[in-house]
Amino acid sequence: MSEGGSETARPDLARPVPFRGGGFRPVAKRGAGIVVFVVLLALAEWGTRTGWITNLTLPRPSDVAATLVELWQSGMFWTHLGPSLTRLVVGSALGVSAGIGVGIMIGLFSYVRAGLIPLVAALFPIPKIALLPLFVIWFGIDEGSKYALIALGTFTPTIVSTYGAVDNVDRTLVRMGQSFGLSWMSIVRKIVLPGALPGILSGLRVSLAIGIILLVAAEMLGAEYGIGAYILQAGSLYDLERLFAGVLILSVLGVITSWAIGLMEKRLLRWRN
């Protein structure tokens, strides 16, 4: 009403059409992420130097850096990272491959689906650390229990993302395969699996992040070396510099994993735009 009214005031004037579009589509601003990190670190450094943040609350970033350098120079960096990487790789390879297998079965077969989905839903919220004493009995305190813990932790989320991905495969493509008389195996191999791949890969992001988180839980059990063990020891000694150094390593590990999956996506999913 009012808007229309104001326009009628100068009937013969030619006015440009007002702009009202744009926005709602965030674009990448390069460097903003780095700025945030730098500002946060600078703030922490300044705070701990002036005593505004006590050394009980937060370690000084420069001390954390020094600890990392020291860790590197002492050669212990690889001593800790090596076993952790092995555990992460073996554990999540087991969990992820079993998860993908089960997820695909759930996506394809009615009975498997009906039987396993409630089981998965019941297993998902079980905290793995609560079962630590049992893992000792089931899998021993050597690498077995560590692999098992990480495998179990990555297993359920992989199942969920995989069967979701299989469910989302365009069913017209499957019908197309059938209409050309393709065999069941051909349809699964050539249509269902490649179609589910994007969903499976993006599920992998979450699964591997969980795997990294569980490194700490896994290394609660009789691990002498490993980033998780390093963190736990630092925690029990209340050595904040080492604690943060260890957490930083895990964080970087997470970012690298996510980047690696991004690379895999770029390679394997070149057919998407």
Partner: protein, 255 residues
């Protein structure tokens, strides 16, 4: 209210989409815009509607908007753009709420536009319960609710099946007849263009340039499917476009 496009050029990151398009759209007339895929028809419409800013040139509106006009330039989208979580009535009141129109007044407007689009019985239905044709009629009703000075229609019928399209074309002519509106109607379909356009602007393939504006002198209400004169215009348009269409269809998309 009429619109003037002066030497409109538009680019996306160096890709020129429209080049030096000048057009005049007089009040009360429907201008159809046709052209091969990707030639910039939708872009042109977004520019006219103020959803994007042209790289060069300007678009001017002149004259008074009708009494009570809430939104002078109003879109009808190809894929209806109905909020799936609102009922038919809610989708229309959406565009009234921001102008402070609620309660009985809104009710009155909604009843009116639903009656005009023959949807009164479906006031409380959700979009998912409607057929495609009905959805597009809701979108038209919503556009009518703001009493637009100009309706901008971006392939409004192309998401519908052929039979529904035929029916809706008749409805649109009926609406225009009762209360002539200014329209810019983008379409791929030459049959639609010759049925609904007072004038038809033909764009070249990308970068879209104005090839020609064809005027059809037969009043909208007298046009029928299978009218020989319309067929002749259509055939003429098809000849103009065939080469462009074939080229566009043979093109690899660089995405």
């Amino acid at each position: 209210m009429d619109l003037t496009l002066e030497n409109i050029t538009h680019r996306y990151d160096g890709l020129t989409v429209l080049e030096d398009v000048s057009l005049h759209i007089p009040a009360g007339e429907i201008l159809c815009v046709i052209g091969p895929s990707g030639c910039g028809k939708s872009t042109l419409l977004r520019l006219i509607g103020g959803l994007e800013r042209p790289s060069a040139g300007q678009i001017l509106q002149r004259g008074t908007a009708p009494e009570g006009c809430l939104n002078p330039l109003t879109y009808v989208f190809q894929d209806f753009a109905l909020l799936p979580w609102r009922t038919v009535e809610g989708n229309i009141s959406l565009v009234l709420e921001d102008h402070g129109i609620r309660g009985a007044k809104a009710d009155h407007i909604i009843s009116d536009v639903l009656a005009r689009t023959k949807l009164s019985d479906f006031r409380t239905a959700l979009p998912r319960q409607l057929s495609g044709g009905m959805k597009q009629r809701v979108a038209i009703a919503r556009a009518l609710a703001v009493k637009p000075a100009v309706m901008l229609l971006d392939e409004p019928l192309s998401a519908l099946d052929a039979q529904t399209r035929e029916l809706l074309m008749e409805d649109m002519i009926g609406l225009w007849e009762r209360q002539p509106f200014t329209g810019v109607y983008v379409t791929h379909n030459l049959a639609e263009a010759v049925r609904l356009g007072h004038r038809i602007a033909v764009l070249s393939r990308r970068p879209g340039r104005l090839c020609e504006v064809v005027k059809i002198d037969i009043p909208l209400t007298e046009r029928r499917a299978g009218d020989a004169r319309l067929e002749a215009v259509q055939a003429q348009l098809w000849d103009m476009m065939k080469q462009e269409a074939m080229a566009a269809d043979q093109e690899l998309l660089h995405v």
